[in-house]
């Protein structure tokens, strides 16, 4: 039995693509100057930064002037929500966020709530979908901004972004889309989607860590959340991560190039995997609407089994998977996403997420299946609840 490390947690992060790394290294010499400097070295760095912006914006379907580099998804989400809220005080002091958002969006909304904003949650249905009807319900009485992600990090469920954006606009609200998990998995076009803000981060699509971006539709008022110099056209102060931005552009180009093929390949792996899993392990519950699932993500619970114990047991066998959402200390708590979908708390506490990537092969999923069966069996034979009540 092989104990070599098997990574099946690509929704948490991805390794830097070697080609991207190589190209970043090749052009590092042009990138080290400060783009704000007047002199030649600064201009050279500025040129590379703007090249990155242009190449990235082409891929997203926006103008370079609408794309702002940040440190990553969390910063982009915070900038969108808070920047929009504080940037347009005439708008209603209400913010609507979906119940299945990433903690970056929920945390930003919570900050705004503490500053007096009325925060409303947009409900998700049992399939993990936020419908335009649910959004409209939440927007009765208006809002400054509504936020719904493009694809969910835990369930992999794709959201009807285009219809949601239209519904938000019909109620006079701006629309922010956290597309962090969507890049490289679904076609993304900000004009087609009609979003006002959109967040992304490079390390989810085989780019470098510490660089992300926020699309801000031209002409929207926005209050900067980091003050200092006039970087990023006064919307995000701080010396630019030039080589990171270039890496983001390269990684996104490659991800878009591979997207259709990878989608098909991973669909071909994950659908039979789901069938085999359900057949092999009794009491398996799948989470999320199966027809709206991105090909790389499988979320499930095994009745009577704690997710954490499975994750640790698999880790001890060299297999990396995720359970419910991780909190700051690393302890796992029942996923707010699954709870919002109406999954019973006991089942939500047992949730596991398998997320596949470019190097995932059928052999890997066969190995996962082989290891899972005995682990689930052992855990069920122990029924830990018994002793906890002693």
């Amino acid at each position: 039995m092989s104990n070599s490390s098997l990574f099946l947690d690509y929704n948490s992060t991805t390794p830097l693509d070697p080609e991207v790394a190589e190209e970043m290294a090749r052009r590092q010499g042009e990138a080290w100057g400060n783009p704000s400097s007047v002199h030649a070295e600064g201009r050279r760095a500025r040129k590379l930064l703007e090249e990155a912006r242009e190449r990235t914006s082409t891929l997203l379907g926006c103008d370079p002037g609408e794309l702002y580099f940040t440190s990553g998804g969390t910063e982009s989400d915070n900038l969108a929500l808070k920047g929009c809220y504080y940037g347009d005080p005439r708008k209603p002091r209400r913010v609507a966020v979906s119940a299945i958002e990433h903690s970056a969006v929920l945390g930003a909304a919570e900050d705004l709530r503490k500053q007096g904003a009325d925060v409303v949650k947009i409900a998700a249905d049992s399939g993990g979908v936020v419908t335009p009807q649910a959004l409209e319900q939440a927007l009765e009485g208006g809002a400054c901004v509504a936020a719904v992600m493009a694809t969910n990090n835990e369930t992999g469920t794709m959201q009807p972004v285009k219809d949601l954006a239209a519904a938000a606009h019909a109620h006079g609200a701006r629309f922010h889309c956290d597309a962090v998990q969507a890049m490289g998995k679904v076609p993304v076009d900000v004009r087609d989607w009609g979003v006002d803000f959109m967040a992304l981060t490079a390390h989810k699509f085989y780019g470098p860590r510490g660089i992300g971006a926020l699309y801000i539709r031209r002409g929207l008022p926005l209050a900067a959340q980091i003050s200092g110099g006039g970087h990023e056209r006064n919307r995000r102060a701080g010396t630019e991560n030039v080589i990171g931005a270039y890496g983001l552009a390269l990684a996104l180009e490659k991800a878009n190039r591979l997207r259709a093929g990878e989608e098909e390949r991973l669909r071909g792996l994950s659908e039979p995997f789901i069938e085999a899993l359900v057949a092999a392990v009794a009491g398996t519950h799948l989470h999320g609407d199966r027809t709206l699932r991105v090909a790389n993500t499988v979320s499930c619970s095994f009745e009577g089994v704690e997710g954490e114990a499975v994750v640790v047991s698999l880790d001890l066998k060299g297999i990396c998977v995720a359970s419910g959402s991780a909190c700051s200390s690393g302890a796992t708590e029942p996923s707010h996403v699954l709870l919002a979908m109406g999954v019973p708390p006991q089942l939500a506490a047992g949730a596991l997420r398998f997320s596949f990537g470019r190097t995932t092969r059928k052999d890997d999923l066969d190995r996962l299946l082989r290891e899972l069966g005995p682990i689930v069996e052992r855990l069920r034979s122990l029924s830990p609840a018994a002793l906890e009540h002693s």
Partner: protein, 374 residues
């Protein structure tokens, strides 16, 4: 990424890591001995739950700092490390019990409860659930197998100043059989030296001796926050002296423990101490020091850890609190599961709710909870 578990004769061990030096060295000892290991820090409570001054929080057990300390030690030892959330069972068993005991006019020892109900219960279950057969901690105590009796025995740790067997008397045979105390034979100085030799990041972490979830060491503040305002334990009542005379008022009997002098606000000429607490009448009884001595104690919920429950009286050295030196005594079975301890000489401030632990030399025979005097 952590090294995979290598195939070996030795069983997989879950080592409970608190972020302190002891458990880190315990893990190091097991690693050295060749055991496949996983390190676990339990998240037992949250600051939102237990309150306290934020400035006193740094470095407390369960803070992000101490979890990071445990994680760093595990990294250094190259063992897989996990944080496991036990806040719910901890609240249900340890914290609720702590509050209930004070409401009942007793003075609990939450570490005893935590060992029985969390570490060797909920955590031990998690160990089994991930395939670990043994549980190890950094306690200064020893487990020995007695071939004559066929029983696993609990013994004091070799460092007399660090011995923690007092808080472990509640373990069962099954629990003891699955337990490893790697520090049992070591002196604290050796443990610190080994931590430095291994460059463990926790080598110089100061030790915690107070109650982990009372972050400011102010249990009165904790109880005030946890108990409803109209709880009897928070309601003013009389302070009554040994002659039955009311000599003062108190703001709630939960503020007091037997033997305490502070906070009574009495000026009776001679020093007076709490002699007992009557939760029904909300009366705090006080007496001069000489009246605090008693030569018997009733002990309930007794667990005989190393020996079978005795049917006849038995001689032992009995400790009535963690730092008590121990006193010669006879332990008499009462037939109802409780035991009466008759001390060779009267003991000061026998405190209901504290544990009385029976020793035969360095071997722990058993122990239980001191009850209210009849």
């Amino acid at each position: 990424m952590k090294g995979p578990v290598t195939s070996t004769e030795l069983p997989l061990v879950l080592v409970a890591m608190s972020g302190g030096v002891d458990s880190a060295v315990a893990a190091a000892c097991l690693k050295e001995a060749g055991y496949p290991l996983l390190g676990v820090t339990m998240k037992l409570w949250t600051y939102e739950q237990v309150g306290g001054d934020p400035e006193t929080r740094e470095g407390r057990c369960c803070s992000l700092d101490t979890i990071a300390g445990a994680r760093n030690s595990a990294e250094r030892l190259d063992i897989p490390f996990y944080v496991m959330d036990m806040t719910e069972p901890f609240r249900r068993t340890v914290i609720d019990n702590f509050i209930e005991e004070y409401r009942a006019g007793r003075t609990p020892n939450p570490c005893v409860v935590c060992n029985n109900r969390i570490k060797w219960s909920a955590l031990y279950e998690r160990a089994k659930s991930v395939g670990a057969e043994k549980l190890a901690t950094g306690h200064y105590a020893r487990v020995r197998f007695n071939h004559d009796t066929g029983r696993h025995e609990l013994w004091k740790g070799c460092d007399p100043r660090r011995d923690q067997s007092y808080v472990l008397y509640g373990l069962t045979q099954e629990q003891l059989s699955a337990t490893i105390f790697p520090l049992g034979e070591l002196m604290k100085d050796q443990v610190r030296a080994q931590a430095r030799a291994l460059a463990l990041p926790v080598a110089d972490v100061p030790e915690s001796r107070e109650i982990c979830f009372i972050t400011d060491d102010n249990y009165r503040r904790f109880l005030r926050e946890q108990l409803p305002a109209d709880d009897p334990a928070r309601t003013p009542g009389d302070v009554v002296d040994e002659s039955g005379r009311t000599v003062g008022r108190h703001e709630g009997y939960a503020d007091f423990t037997v033997g305490q002098r502070r906070g009574l606000g009495l000026s009776l000429g001679t020093p007076y101490y709490v002699s007992s607490i009557d939760p029904q009448q909300r009366v705090v009884h006080v007496a001069p020091d000489r009246d605090l001595y008693a030569d018997t104690a009733r002990v309930e919920q007794v667990n005989w850890v190393s020996v079978a429950a005795p049917q006849r009286p038995l001689s032992a050295t009995v400790k009535i609190r963690y730092l008590h030196p121990g006193e010669r005594a006879e332990v008499w079975p009462e037939g109802d599961g409780a035991f009466t301890v008759r001390f060779a000489s009267p003991q000061r401030a026998l405190t209901p709710g504290q544990s009385a632990v029976f020793y035969d030399g360095d071997r722990v025979l058993g122990g239980g909870l001191v009850s209210h005097p009849a």
